[in-house]
């Protein structure tokens, strides 16, 4: 995805969410990673970096429960 210079991880989230509006409610809770390292949303991106957006998955109250001590 091509983004303007000085875009942040959150800017890219917003561009993606514009295309997939169902992501909008996850704006504050989405984890972001650049080149396999967790980063803050306001982190500026550099040419060639890989950004991952990891929203909390839908599934109602069951979401976010992977590591609450229940799973294994």
């Amino acid at each position: 995805m091509d983004v303007p210079d000085k875009s942040t991880a959150l800017d890219v989230f917003d561009r993606v969410a514009a295309r997939y509006p169902e992501m909008q409610p996850m704006r504050a809770s989405t984890l972001m990673a650049v080149d396999a390292e967790y980063v803050r949303p306001e982190t500026p991106l550099r040419e060639g970096e890989e950004l991952a957006l990891m929203p909390p998955v839908s599934g109602g109250s069951a979401a976010w429960s992977y590591a609450d001590g229940e799973s294994c």
Partner: protein, 165 residues
Amino acid sequence: MVLRGRRVMLIRVQEEPLALDEVVRAVEHAAAGGLVTFSGVVRDHHEGKRVTAIAYEAYGAMAEAKMRQIGEDVERRWPECRVAMLHRTGKLEIGEASVLIAVSAPHRAEAFDACEYAIDTLKQLVPIWKKEAYENGEVWLEYEHRLAQEQARGPGPARTASPTT
């Protein structure tokens, strides 16, 4: 396994079934008097619902990178420990192992502590999701993200370094 005089830590995310003896062999050595393993196994229920199968999906490169960071962290905190970790992806049946960890140490106390730390941290930092299939539907579950958010905030102004603990 030795590379340029240094042991290579066994860390892998894979679709194939996991074998406990692989992680055990990776950490056993003559000075290790205690060897602890942890197997995370697909169980048949979750919050009162009957689970029929589970699918795991990993953000592959990052998952292995985070597992390696955790392994290095373990060997830093418990310098005499050796650790190995495997995580499976794809569809698993009840009773199959999704994650295996082995830790060896001269004495059992460090091995138990380090193994517990490794699995607890793995579950909070490694980007692997699971989808549970129930008798009447399925749902995606996330890994607990508090530690990941702490890493994202990091000690520095913008970017984070490796784990701080």
